[in-house]
Symmetry: C2
Subunit: 316 residues, 2 copies
């Protein structure tokens, strides 16, 4: 049975090392060459079996999601992905599992041009911690704190599909088999919006990725920016699958469900005008769902909706 060193060597030493990696996996630390005139953006996230993904999730999907949610954090800041490190805690040394995990990780990493530069494997309950590093031009960074009165509020893609997938897995919602597959795929294989981040970062006043739920994450922007918001619930983008559900249920999934990893961002009116032609020309899936209003306390839904909860929180 291989030891920790050969595990890392076998599954996590990648070829085609980019020039920015002076020293990758194999020493006490990685050595990385920094670009000039940029800022380093870094984020760390842990996924734990039974908390962040169901026990039966396959290794390929776990790897995808662990990296995707971190890429999504870079997208939310307007940063370009560069490198990541991985700490993997495994209950046993299952080589089939490791092979699938490694393939899932590599597939997404190659797609998003991010390179694994360091790793640690330990024995323990299954959990995956990834720290991503990326770079941003100073004037293109998107913070939660930049939203202003009159800014328009936008989201990418459609909302609530991942939450629908979870509800389907948990037997709380029933879809046709193909619809179930698609929603579960949205849950297990979120596609981070780094390509849209590159377009909007020159325009947006604030941005966040939707991980806890649309309203919960919007509230983070409102808190950081000391403003309120009006959301037009008729404008919430719903996938064809969610449109088949009872409308209140669909909107609850879209507004309170988590794990979508779409971007929610704000644009000053003049920038909204500038970006609208780009959105049309490039056929980007971006919807305006409301506006920032400093006279509102928190979030006002128009038309109003009965919502059971406002997003997922740990330790509550």
């Amino acid at each position: 049975m291989p030891d920790e060193f050969s595990l890392i060597e076998k599954y996590f030493s990648w070829k085609n090392i980019p020039k920015s990696v002076a020293l990758g996996i194999g020493d006490d630390a990685a050595i990385l060459s920094l670009p000039e005139n940029k800022q380093l953006v870094t984020s760390i996230d842990t996924l734990i079996e039974g908390i962040h993904f169901p026990k039966e999730t396959d290794a390929h999907a776990i790897a995808h999601k662990a990296l995707a949610i971190n890429l999504s954090d870079l997208a939310a800041m307007g940063a370009d992905p560069a490198w990541f490190t991985l700490s993997l805690s495994l209950p046993d040394n299952d080589e089939t599992w490791l092979q699938e995990f490694s393939e899932g990780l590599k597939a997404l990493a190659q797609q998003y041009d991010i390179f694994l530069v360091g790793g640690d494997t330990t024995r323990g309950a299954l959990s995956i911690t990834i720290q991503v590093m990326g770079f941003v031009e100073k004037d293109q960074v998107m913070l939660r704190s930049g939203a202003n009165h009159h800014d328009k509020i936008y989201v990418t893609g459609t909302l609530g599909d991942a939450a629908a997938g979870l509800a389907a897995l948990q037997g709380e919602l029933y879809f046709e088999p193909n619809d179930t597959l698609e929603c579960v795929s949205k849950l297990e294989y979120p596609q981070p919006c780094n390509h849209i981040s590159r377009i909007i970062r020159s325009y947006a006043s604030a941005c966040i990725d939707i991980s806890d739920g649309t309203l919960a994450d919007l509230q983070h922007i409102l808190d950081a920016s000391s403003v309120g918001a009006i959301i037009n619930t008729d404008k919430i983008p719903l996938s064809p699958i969610l449109q088949k559900l009872d409308r209140n249920k669909a909107l609850e999934l879209a507004l309170s469900g988590g794990d979508d990893y779409q971007l929610l961002f704000t644009l000053p009116p003049v920038k909204a005008y500038q970006l609208s032609s780009i959105i049309e020309r490039r056929k980007l899936a971006i919807s305006c769902i409301g506006s920032i209003d400093k006279s509102v306390d928190g979030i006002k839904l128009v038309p109003e909706l009965p919502l059971a909860q406002y997003g997922y929180k740990h330790f509550t």
Copy 2:
């Protein structure tokens, strides 16, 4: 009961933010200003309860060790500490534990001038993942692969004290109460050698920190450098406490025990001569324990010793 966001806010948002931190904890990611003409050095390590520390270890010590072993990786590379991120998995929200953990982390971070820039808390079995980031001048980096024939081999401090502490905790060795306390303190509160790293990095041809055990870690240098080594077992530095033990037992702890977090490094003969006056003048605890020899396969111990094992490995 506070949620994840207020937990991070309460225990992990530090004051006196250094200039290099453009944005710390609180957004999707941290934004950090990079120094010019340096390389980024980064390493990630996870500690799991029951694997890396006994269940009864207090939170202050756990925090210390989790950061210390990462600082030690930077020391092994010759890098100066700058920032770190923390992912903390906790079985419950014990505020006393969090307070002690936070204090242990902060005390060591302030001592070593490293700043917490990002965090994630999740519910799960107790585990702590820390990623450190630091910087090094290109010509001062120390790799495992730089050792050459005739280089002298050095270690810092004394060896085997942490392993003696673990053996004492596990009831396998018996010491006087004060000696037990001191060895356990070496196990729980390792002092990373970043101060010595700053001195030796202009001279050393290769370096590693001793985490798995002296011989196991030396072997990593030998593998990476394609050389062998002769170790003079009479020169192994032993603390007064270990000198009270049977000599073979003491040397086994010193050579095969892990967790010392001393540095093991190699110096070309001319550099050894240059550094020796600095070592004397500054009264540095550094000992020459042998030399690199390309005609030796692996490690030759002179005089020879009966050793039960060559260092700790996961998954074996």
